[in-house]
């Protein structure tokens, strides 16, 4: 039982972070708060991968002449780190596009509240 907790507590903290991020994304009304939630959610996924890459008693995945490369148990898993480099870039790109959209919305409606924006959008639809 205790072994199980020690082996999994890191994942549980990551899942708490995910729930916080998802809460921000789907329940908050302010567009920028949604983006903050999105950022937390993406970072928690990155933490999830990196936590899984760990190996007790291993070192960073840079070949060390003193250790040699014959024994994989001496280096932590390099693949999730590589994947997460890509995921970080995807997160940055999404954030850039999202901020561009927020600026455009604010310029046109002078508001960032989702319910108010939707109300105004429907009102404009009816007048057309």
């Amino acid at each position: 039982m205790f072994d199980f907790i020690v082996g999994h507590y890191a994942y549980w903290f990551v899942f708490i972070l995910m729930a916080i991020g998802l809460y921000g994304m789907i329940i908050k009304c302010n567009l920028v708060k949604k983006l903050i939630g999105m950022s937390i959610f993406q970072v928690s996924i990155i933490l999830f991968y990196v936590a899984g890459a760990n190996k007790w008693g291993a070192t960073v995945p840079v070949a060390d002449p003193a250790l040699g490369t014959a024994d994989p148990a001496k280096y932590i898993n390099p693949l999730p780190h590589t994947l997460m480099l890509t995921a970080i870039v995807v997160g940055v790109a999404t954030m850039g596009v999202a901020l561009a959209l927020v600026i455009t919305i604010y310029k046109r409606y002078k508001s960032l509240d989702e319910t108010r924006l939707l109300e105004q959008m429907r009102k404009e639809d009816d007048t057309e």
């Binding site: 960073v60 870039v89 850039g96």
Partner: protein
């Protein structure tokens, strides 16, 4: 339109720090083979140095360092370096991104190493140019500036 008031301390420190950031970024890119680092990390650092100057010296002065209109074409150039490396491997008769057919060196492994370096340079250039261009565009679209 907000007015810009120069602050001598901020200006001096950022001017002083910026070249060192660029130097460290180049180290991160070119030493990425032997220590943690690589194109994306280095490119982000160079972009940070350029954006630091944009923030402290004002947008107009910073145009002398990296004009706004360079962003999109230079970013495409960076991706083109990466893509071109892959295209060269195809033209040399290998699979896409198989650097061993490029014959950059006698040893296959060194050839791959140089291939990786070329690719990382492309990544660094693209990331630098595009991050700066995203910053410029966000600034330009901002209604308060």
């Amino acid at each position: 339109m907000r007015t810009y008031r120069p602050n001598p301390i901020v200006s001096l420190v950022s001017r002083l720090v910026s070249p060192f950031i660029v130097m460290f970024a180049l180290y991160v890119i070119f030493h990425g083979h032997y220590s943690p680092g690589g194109g994306f990390q280095g490119g982000t650092l160079i972009a940070a140095a350029l954006i630091l100057i944009r923030l402290s010296e004002g947008n107009e002065a910073a145009q002398l360092q990296f004009p706004r209109s360079w962003g999109t074409p230079l970013g495409s150039l960076g991706v083109l370096i990466y893509f071109g490396t892959g295209l060269a491997t195809v033209l040399m008769g290998g699979r896409f991104l198989d650097y061993s057919v490029l014959h950059l060196s006698h040893h296959v492994s060194m050839s791959r190493s140089y291939g990786i370096l070329m690719v990382e340079i492309g990544v660094g250039l693209a990331v630098t140019a595009i991050l700066v261009s995203i910053f410029d565009n966000l600034l330009e679209g901002n209604p308060d500036v």
